[in-house]
Amino acid sequence: MNSSPRDALILGGNRLPFARANGPYAGISNQDLLTAALDGLIARYGLQGARLGEVAGGAVLKLAGDLNLTRESALGTPLDPRTPAIDLSKACATGLEAVVHVSNRIRLGQIDSAIAAGVDSTSDAPIEVSARLRRILHRASAARSTADRLKALAAIRPADLAPVPPRNGEPRTGLSMGEHMALTAAQWGITREAQDELALASHQHLAASYDAGFHDDLVTGYRGLSRDQNLRADSTLEKLAGLKPVFGVKSPQVAEPTMTAGNSTPLTDGASAVLLGSAEFAAERGLTPLARVIDARSAAVDFVHGDEGLLMAPAYAVPELLDANGLTLQDLDVYEIHEAFAATVLATLKAWESEEFCRERLGRDGALGAIDRTKLNPLGSSLAAGHPFAATGGRIIASLAKHLHARHVETGTVQRGLVSICAAAGQGTVALIESVA
């Protein structure tokens, strides 16, 4: 095991129910969502007036004016205003990176307590002006005379006025994330049936965990929503099979497109927050530690010229993480693999089962092998819950920590959980946590 000066303990979490884009959270900003998620965490753990070591958080789709989004949100809560905050950003891995960041600081003794948070609103995504219009406006604002200003402004053409929404795709390939994934899915021969089965399991697991009351102390209702809006408890394989493929349909390399709106995550709005602290902090506050953060790794792949699939970085990061901690893939009790798309999870598992991939790509003696699929995303994941980019890491960490703790209490043995999150631009962050009881 990785030796560390002291433990960074996961003490609890809170998130808002995730809403579909332009649904109940339309007209609501990132700051609103993050403040509401933090408020709920503070209320649940009695942190009113507490001066924490740090609040770390971020958003992927972020307005330029929100540079201090996390700090501004924290300032709107009953936390002591002297609690420092930091904004982080790493696409869909933002939330998990925030957990890793604060847990490292706790382990090093720099801070005793922290909140790791994340938020995203696709309903309030920033819309910018065109690069040409921006340059013209800067030139006009720098002009010294009215005549020069008018001359600069005269360069504006109607086309410059069209607003620029956030780019939906990789800037270097021009392909959307779904199109990239469709290429990887075709390369690994991931079937439509396997994807739909994984999507169905996600809905069923999440619905069952809600019905069991598992989320009662993890989720605070917001704007009339008390469960994730995307959750379809009554979904069936027949319904999923009836959906038309949406990704890969324009790619000549994809003979049979398999990715539908049912086995891909929808655009959603939401926020999450996780409370972490040292053992001393937990004892002081009378909080029950659920799990400790053991270690984390990140990796990146060269997807630009097709050397590797865009979302395959976790397939590289996980073996490195396991090796560093003397574990095999099968030593884990729960696998939380973020369901960007059902095919992402399946391609990752298939890569670890592949002798060829593990020898040639990972430089190992053989395959990592298969996992016990009953241990995969047992509480449902992003296909059912939705995926407000930066909020996903916090969602997974808080529910996994609670789940591992409960299993530990039940079985009397330490439970280990893996969290794996792929991100845009060919990156991935993975983390290992283990139960405390």
């Binding site: 007209g27 403040t35 300032l75 709107g76 209702g221 009339g224």
Partner: protein, 301 residues
Amino acid sequence: MTAETIKDLRDVPSFPAVYAAALTPSRARRSRRGTPRLPALAYRVRGVRIDAERARDVDHLLGGAATDLVHPAVLHILAFPVSLALMARDEFPFPLLGVVHLRNQLLQHRSVNVGETVDVECRVRDLRPHRKGWTFEAVATVLDQDGAIIATDVSTYLAKGDSPAAEGTGADSPSRRREFVAPRPTGRWSLGADTGRRYAAVSGDANPIHMSGLTARAFGFPKAIAHGMYTAARALTEARPDLSRPLRWDVEFDAPVTLPGTVLVSYEDRADGSTTCVGWRPGRDGKPDRRCFEVAVTPLG
């Protein structure tokens, strides 16, 4: 004291109707002689839903985050047209558009969530002679569906005119304004000409004195003035109280905030957990600073 009658209104009255009624000449006001009498009448509106979008717009206007806990100003905004309708009634002794908001105290016994349904009751009470006329209180009570009081909002108004305490009558009349010594400012509000219109858009209160210089002049004000409750509500947001706890929100108004204009503010967190905010117009050309409002937000329990 006359027994009070409660009149149930079907809905929260609309501002245009209230202001139109207020502009109609009233028999009671024209023929008033001697001591004025407040009507022994309460208005009640049952089953008013606290609209999530309005609550959000209020939060955003005030620079706060739209959480599910309702800003206390939303409760005031909800009840205000009901009180106003009561004050626009024929037998009400003072002209509605001439009354000045002196003080406000809102006591909130529990947090309120967006989407909750409440009952609102409004009455007027406590008529007192003042050196400039008469003061009275408009009291709005917000109740939940079990009849428990959620909040009490007391607005103290001044109706200018003759009264036993009016200046020169020999009654207690501290006619000199207390000298205001401005503290060190902690912030500055740059209020645009549209400040009144923006608050009107979320509160519905489109009183012409707040809307533009032109409409304000028609009612005898040299410039448009900000809604007092806008300044008070913004101070509450910036005081950052824990809205999940009961609180008291006290406001005292002095000089009006003219628009467009700059107000300097100074916040102080006190040992008892309360936060105060004083706001003033900085004096120019040798003129003294004018205190505009003082707000205190006190958590209870």
